[in-house]
Symmetry: C2
DNA sequence: AGAAAAATGTTAATTATTTCACAATGTTAA
DNA sequence: TTAACATTGTGAAATAATTAACATTTTTCT
């Protein structure tokens, strides 16, 4: 299941989120146009994505919610699970830690790091905060593969280098400072100001 | 300057962010490949984006940093400035309010709203928190056009409807619950779990 | 039973975005 | 003064993503 388009991967994650809610409400089947409605996209797009992962629904009945959830899991989750850490437990780091905890069994935040001695040793949503100085050691001990960076922008390049040296293979950078990583490391960056400016621009142009 | 690709708009915002840093450091000219390096993209892409906004650099000297910053501003900022509000001043709302304040003169967070009476009346980074019950009134009074939602997911649809009725024309939804808005309202949604799952997926497939 | 309706699955067409390739031209160095 | 070089600007090609169109199948209705 290699060559899935990037956009399809994003949508599969979103479908699953929506499907989990539907499943919790007791729905057993769902139509492509119902999924589409939730995600503000077209039904064809949903069907195409589902086709790409090789699932087939039942004609006139739609897709089996539980089966689809499980299949999406097989595609996007890694079997053994992946350990994640958050670096910088300020407002954003706490929001993320809080939001993620317990949401996905295959992705667990298992450590947070900070330089602030007042934070080291404390727990955030059940996850222990370690001293930045011990980061490399803990990343190896706990087999952490993905890092989320929420430190001040000016420290991002330095922390990024440390994370790469410690063996991280995926990074999510929420600081406003783009970082450089070797090509073996998968990097995703997101900045809220860019999103807001985009909204502001398209608001003007209807 | 209508038909700029969505992706170009996002990148222009990112270029400006980078250029502002360069300008602050005293750089007066910058090459396309230098901008490209910062953003992890190709120099051609940078040149094409700049071409699309009708700016031309100086051969072998690159682009004038200040001029380019100003031109990007003319394209993506609205002349009069836009007022923004944040609904739900929890961890994420505070992180956003903190991060945005003073960053962009043309986009100002001028109010935050919450239901928690303990928060109403307090100031967050200099911005007053109002009672949700007064939201419609305040949005009109303060001419707020864009809203950022950081309330619990289950309240998102209700708050979204209220915001639309109050006259909002752009919305940034950070709750995990997709919302429906009329087509006149420009909506952007972002979920960190989707980003993290994407990283996890591509980490597996090199 | 047969016709109409409502879905899925998929090929082909379209649209959006990125990259290639290279002409044009100013700069540096011999 | 000329050759080599470095950089911009852009048409054309390539790639990626979305949408249209429709055959197919199941269900429902008459
Ligand atoms: N991407 C976005 O959309 C977005 C939104 C909000 C904030 N931000 C950025 O996220 C980062 C964090 O924002 P915040 O509001 O949580 O800030 P914050 O100041 O509340 O938190 C920063 C935390 O990092 C810690 N820290 C500082 N230096 C460190 C280091 N070298 N190593 C480890 N920890 C360190 C601090 O002790 C603090 O706990 C900032 O860079 C901010 O600009 C990004
Ligand atoms: N998109 C993302 O990546 C991301 C990341 C983290 C959190 N989240 C989501 O953002 C939201 C906020 O997260 P948080 O960590 O700040 O939560 P939080 O509980 O710290 O904050 C929620 C705030 O909203 C207020 N609130 C509750 N109901 C309200 C209502 N009806 N109207 C106005 N205010 C109301 C609460 O009083 C509180 O101040 C949640 O939906 C969470 O799932 C999203």
């Amino acid at each position: 299941m290699k060559n899935l388009p990037h956009k399809t991967i994003e949508r599969l994650s979103q479908y699953r989120r929506a499907l989990l809610l539907c499943h919790a409400k007791g729905m057993t089947y769902i139509y492509s146009h119902e999924i589409a409605k939730i995600q503000h996209i077209t039904a064809v797009q949903v069907r195409r994505d589902i086709m790409l992962i090789g699932y087939t629904g039942t004609l006139r009945k739609g897709y089996n919610v539980k089966e689809l959830i499980d299949l999406i899991g097989q595609i996007i989750d890694s079997k053994e699970g992946i350990n994640v850490c958050v670096v910088g437990i300020g407002n954003l780091g706490r929001a993320i830690t809080n939001y993620f905890s317990g949401k996905r069994t295959k992705l667990s935040i298992v450590a947070v790091f900070d330089v602030d001695k007042g934070k080291v040793g404390k727990k955030y949503h059940g996850i222990e905060c370690f001293d930045l100085a011990d980061m490399t050691k803990i990343i190896k001990e706990k087999k952490i593969e993905i890092a989320i960076m929420t430190v001040p922008g000016e420290d991002a390049p330095m922390i990024s280098d440390m994370l790469v040296k410690a063996g991280i293979i995926g990074m999510l950078n929420y600081t406003p400072k783009p970082v450089n990583v070797p090509k073996e490391v998968y990097l995703e960056e997101y900045d809220m100001i860019t999103s807001l400016e985009k909204v502001a621009f398209f608001v003007k142009t209807h």
